[in-house]
């Protein structure tokens, strides 16, 4: 095997192995269900789920629902970026405030915020704002925490370079501290968006409103199990694509390490 072939194998082998594992898992599930070990009234065989995919796409307005969910996620993303980064900068700037609240922000990151959805429904009503605000609250802490971490982690020598060029406090922030912190801040935004997507779909399911989450709820209530699992698989696919896109953007923003 020449060097180019070895390079191609080493590049594609992990992806191929991953896909093979998923295919193997579905084959095992198919066999287990067909053998009657798992009831097909609870878990439909993967071939039925695959067959239901077409129906879900053509009859359940999945494209419209997809854009609705993505729209809610993007709105959440804009809000966590604006308020999360601003909050992180504020906490970094005022140490007392940081010391007083950082633990609470970290605790909020670990809290099952989704359980508070009835409260949000009372405040915002059964509409997209409840979903967006739930996503926002769940996704905000990582952005705040990573912004603080990024700003605090700015190398002292870079700050000293700024000082040696007589930068004002505002120039020091915009020209040195913020660009230096950007990769860490973006990691926070990426984490936040993932939390946001989980919560957006979850709340759509719980309040039976909106995009993909509501579709899963609808199909489950109709006891259309192959359709339900097909919709769940679609959401997982969306999450994977979402995650990979964010990783690409992050790499693009971080020129060369």
């Amino acid at each position: 095997m020449n060097a180019a072939a070895r390079h191609a194998v080493s590049r594609f082998a992990p992806v191929a192995t991953g896909v093979a594992c998923v295919v193997l898992f579905f084959c095992v599930m198919e066999a287990v269900i067909r053998a009657g070990i798992l009831s097909e009234y609870i878990v439909p065989p993967p071939t039925q789920v695959l067959a239901a995919f077409g129906e879900v796409v053509t009859q359940e307005h999945i494209v419209r629902r997809f854009f609705l969910t993505i729209g809610e996620c993007l709105m959440t993303g804009v809000m966590i970026t604006v308020f999360g980064v601003a909050g992180g900068v504020l906490l970094h700037r005022y140490k007392l405030l940081q010391q007083a609240t950082e633990t609470w922000v970290a605790a909020l990151a670990a809290a099952p915020v989704v359980l508070a959805y009835p409260l949000f429904m009372v405040i915002f009503g059964r509409n997209a704002w409840t979903i967006i605000m739930m996503g926002f609250v769940a996704a905000l802490p990582p952005v705040i925490l990573k912004t603080i971490e990024g700003l605090a982690g700015t190398r002292k020598v870079l700050v000293n370079v700024g000082r040696s060029f007589n930068l004002s406090a505002s120039q020091q922030f915009w020209k040195i501290m913020l660009p230096a912190a950007l990769p860490t801040i973006f990691t926070g935004i990426r984490l936040g968006l993932i939390f946001g997507l989980i919560n957006v779909v979850g709340v759509e399911f719980l309040i039976n409103y909106g995009g993909l989450g509501q579709l899963i709820n609808d199909l489950a209530e109709r006891y259309d199990l192959p359709g339900t699992y097909a919709a769940i698989c679609f959401v997982i696919l969306v999450s994977v694509v979402f995650f990979m896109t964010l990783e690409k953007i992050e790499r693009w923003l971080r020129p060369v390490n």
């Binding site: 020598v157 870079l158 000293n160 040696s164 007589n166 230096a180 020129p255 060369v256």
Partner: protein, 271 residues
């Protein structure tokens, strides 16, 4: 004799530590003439970098005064350009944007500042690397970017704190050549902080030897070697004599430093 462009008078710095106040630098006075290359050398812990920070205006709490062209300075000053020991390029900017940074601060138009930056990039021998990011460059190249960035601000005094400390000996000698060449080309007044004797002798007109803690001026050695110089000079007999002379001054201080460090470690190891 030329009038001094930089005068440091009775500099003293004291740091508060857990074991009480420590006098890092005491009664350090010297001057640097226009176009002169002065090196400050001393053992580890003698306060060289503290002197660097005081002169660069990064350390406000000190006694004594620093004057540039007769003007008393009490903070970072546009006449002094600093090159740091640690890698200090901006990783999010490519080479040309790194070097153009001080020009950007003056509000110079982009075209003009890029052209100016390219001039300094050529000067440090990095032409062809303008669009590269620091992460794509070697340590020596990154230090040259830092040097070009500082030169782009056209400082009256170039202040460098062990800029080649992290590099291997061969790269260090070659970069020393580059700095000498630039210094001679621009007639740049330069103050170099170093612990490397050959580097100091290779480049300097005078070497200020500091004592171990508290750092004081032990002696100032005039280096009467012909200019223009290159690293070829390290093979000359005169060079060897100067190295020996500086080492004889430094040896006692370095031994004191080593002993002090050993005692400190023993003290810390005691239950």
């Amino acid at each position: 004799m030329t009038t001094p462009i930089l005068v440091a008078d009775q500099l003293a710095v004291r740091f508060e530590t857990a074991e009480g106040p420590v006098k890092a630098v005491d009664d350090v006075s010297f001057s640097v003439r226009q176009g002169e290359f002065l090196s400050i050398i001393g053992p580890s812990g003698c306060g060289k970098s503290t002197v660097f920070n005081v002169i660069g205006g990064l350390l406000a709490q000190h006694d004594g005064t620093v004057r540039v062209g007769g003007e008393l300075i009490d903070g970072p000053h546009k006449s002094i350009g600093m090159v740091f020991q640690e890698e200090s390029t901006f990783p999010w900017r490519n080479v040309v944007d790194n070097v153009a940074f001080p020009l950007e601060l003056t509000g110079m138009a982009r075209d003009k500042r890029v052209e100016r930056a390219r001039h300094f990039i050529r000067m440090v021998g990095l032409d062809g690397f303008e669009k590269r990011y620091p992460g794509e460059l070697s340590g020596g190249m990154r230090q040259r970017v830092s040097l070009a960035r500082t030169l782009a601000s056209e400082p009256k005094i170039l202040l460098m704190d062990e800029p080649f400390a992290a590099l291997d000996e061969q790269t260090r000698l070659l970069l020393g050549d580059k700095v000498l060449q630039i210094q001679q080309q621009l007639q740049q007044t330069t103050l170099l902080i170093t612990h490397n004797i050959t580097e100091a002798v290779q480049m300097s007109d005078r070497i200020l030897v500091m004592t171990y803690r508290p750092g004081r001026v032990k002696r100032i050695v005039e280096i009467d070697l012909p200019r223009p110089r290159t690293s070829d000079i390290v093979g000359s007999e005169a060079f060897g004599r100067y190295v020996a002379q500086v080492w004889s001054d430094l040896r006692e201080e370095a031994s004191r430093g080593l002993k002090d460090e050993e005692e400190h470690m023993l003290h810390e190891a005691q239950p």
